[in-house]
Subunit: 388 residues, 2 copies
């Protein structure tokens, strides 16, 4: 049997997939929703498939349903972002949005700016495009703009081309949980604009806030140079696969041509529109915030009780806590042993793009979203027993 | 305002989109379904969103729902194709499948084999990857394998690398309407296998057959070297955006990693599974065949009555007829005038990738799927009046 000649992109990948954790493991690894907050969409679907049948079962127009684009633009304007419906492109989830932005901006070998650690699912997407990762560290105000400035300066001095974009998760950063301060946001967008490097703002958890007030979105501070990627996965349900990109109109026009996929699914778009009508979305978000705040509090309490030696930043929102175990704890090994003991966690090593200095081995990300409160207690106990 | 530095791929595109035809034009341009055959999916959606809520609203497993992969494998086996569920990857429609196969196989400048004319929507997808098109003509048995053999021979002699894949629509070819003969299919897969060039078989209309029996699928003749792209768009409804790739398991493993999109929508997959249960799919296909046979017959009769000077192949299935106007008729100009007169058609020039010898100007594709029988009569009359 002969394999065909693969592209360079495909040749970089291994032909074997990592095994999925067993279905009965306590799921501290996953960004799934808690089953108790999954909304009832049956009535929205009925309307979508009767009243709107001729729309929802035909090909959609390529940029997305006009009402959906208008809804999202209004939703973002209510968050202080100056954006019109023509600046919105509907995509099949935020990861698809990231992929399209890479198509728009990246050639093989181009540099991009990421944080260390960073959202681990974005790593293979960027790597598929042959990106060179420039890893910048964070403190409790977010990504270090001073370190980024130095890095850009060094590249310029060395005659290297500037990075093609700056990727950031400014709210409840995944995995670190840090929310970028207003001052830091202002410095970041200013530096990016001076260097004419677009910023990709990925903020799926922005409305899943438990404490305090929101800082302005990066796109609110610079609507032209920041491209925002959004999703209904965390607001309504992951399975719907509806997300968006908000970017200047001429960027959206190019993205539409790169998308060439027959239009994103009009049925799921219409189901979301029906569900979000009136107070639907806000009521649902209120419930989601309430449930996940309880989950977070439960997990933080269990960690302090059972693993007092572990450092953690309490996140003001989102799905995750980022744990710093004492030096010498190898979380890759811990994750393997935890899985055997029935708990699935993600070791910190997965969150480093790996081209900078060696990734620290003593971090882990725990999701409090998917597991039940009882599973949270039980799972943390199991980990504590393993760490000893 | 400054544009960012685009990728080479994006720089090849213009930043303006073609205008959509007005909604009240008679839609001979479109591959949409006739509204009268859109199925009632409300009950299937109710079950999907109640009984299966925990599945349909969470992230799906990356290769697609196991039941859906099993259903498609069974569906293909009933068509004589030796395939297992592990060889099926669920994607967001056939165009997404083509895009993923390009990701797997193509680097910028790689050659691919297409027909002239070819399915026009595939042209920008392949072009986005910087493909060099090798255009091969067709006769009434399908693509010319002799011409392809000569072309491969010439490239080898010139020291040029072989093409990375052969793309073909063997059933009711879009746009030419030609169904490849069995003999030609056998020669094509044999030649491809000898040269170790994978074949991409794109056959969305295969079950939309009005006359005669089916020839074996290319993949039935060579399950290893043929990668089949399938879709529910023509079988159930375009808006669902569920398609698949059938390929060897190790190819599927690589495609899954390239896909990195959070899994295709589990809700639309489950709706389709519910709809297709028992006799559901076959009953629907019977209806679709009946309706589109009437549409085809109505259009062919109108064309013979009103435009006897136009040459056409009567297609045994699918959505389209391909018209050869007398030399001297410029169908780009005709399409513009027809649109002004309220009829939207696609000029033949759109179906040539344009890197071979100059595309003929006197062809046009007319879809009989979307318009009503009355609109078919009216639209053909308008065109006849314009041609004079």
């Amino acid at each position: 049997m002969t394999a065909p000649a693969f592209s360079r992109r495909a040749a970089r990948l291994s032909a074997t997939l990592p095994a999925a954790p067993p279905a009965d493991a306590i799921p501290f690894d996953s960004g799934h929703a808690f089953p108790g907050v999954l909304p009832d969409l049956a009535e929205a679907a009925r309307v979508a498939l009767t009243t709107y049948r001729a729309e929802t079962l035909q090909y959609a127009v390529r940029p997305g349903l006009p009402e959906m684009r208008e809804f999202i633009a209004g939703y973002m304007r209510s968050d202080g972002i100056d954006v019109s419906s023509e600046q919105i492109l509907i995509v099949n989830g935020a990861k698809h949005g990231l992929d399209l932005l890479c198509q728009l901006l990246l050639d093989e070998g181009d540099a991009i700016v990421v944080t260390a650690p960073m959202y681990f699912t974005a790593i293979p997407i960027f790597r598929n495009f042959g990106a060179e990762f420039i890893e910048i560290g964070q403190d409790d105000e977010g990504v270090s703009v001073d370190a980024l400035r130095d890095s850009l300066q060094r590249r310029a001095t060395a005659g290297e081309p500037p990075p093609k974009f700056i990727y950031n998760v400014p709210d409840f950063h995944n995995p670190s949980g840090v929310t970028m301060s207003r001052r830091r946001r202002e410095s970041l967008v200013r530096l990016a604009s001076e260097h004419r490097i677009p910023v990709i703002e990925d903020s799926p958890y922005r409305r899943i806030r438990f404490d305090g007030g929101a800082e302005p979105a990066l796109k609110a501070l610079d609507p032209h140079n920041v491209y925002a990627v959004g999703t209904f996965s965390k607001l309504v349900a992951p399975g719907l696969r509806v997300g968006w990109i908000a970017a200047p109109k001429e960027i959206v026009a190019r993205l539409i041509q790169l998308k060439s996929d027959g239009g994103s699914c009009p049925l799921t778009q219409r189901i979301i529109l029906e569900f979000c009508r009136g107070e639907g979305l806000q009521q649902h978000i209120d419930k989601v915030q309430r449930v996940y705040r309880e989950h977070r509090d439960r997990m933080v309490a269990a960690l302090r009780r059972e693993l007092p030696q572990v450092g953690l930043t309490i996140p003001d929102g989102g799905y995750y806590v980022w744990l710093r175990f004492p030096e010498g704890v190898d979380t890759d090994e811990l994750a393997r042993r935890a899985l055997t003991a029935g708990v699935s966690i993600l070791p910190g090593s997965k969150f480093f793009s790996g081209t900078g200095s060696g990734a620290p081995r003593n971090y882990a990300r725990l999701a409090f979203s998917h597991a039940s409160p009882e599973e949270i207690d039980r799972g943390v106990s199991v980990i504590a027993r393993l760490v000893g």
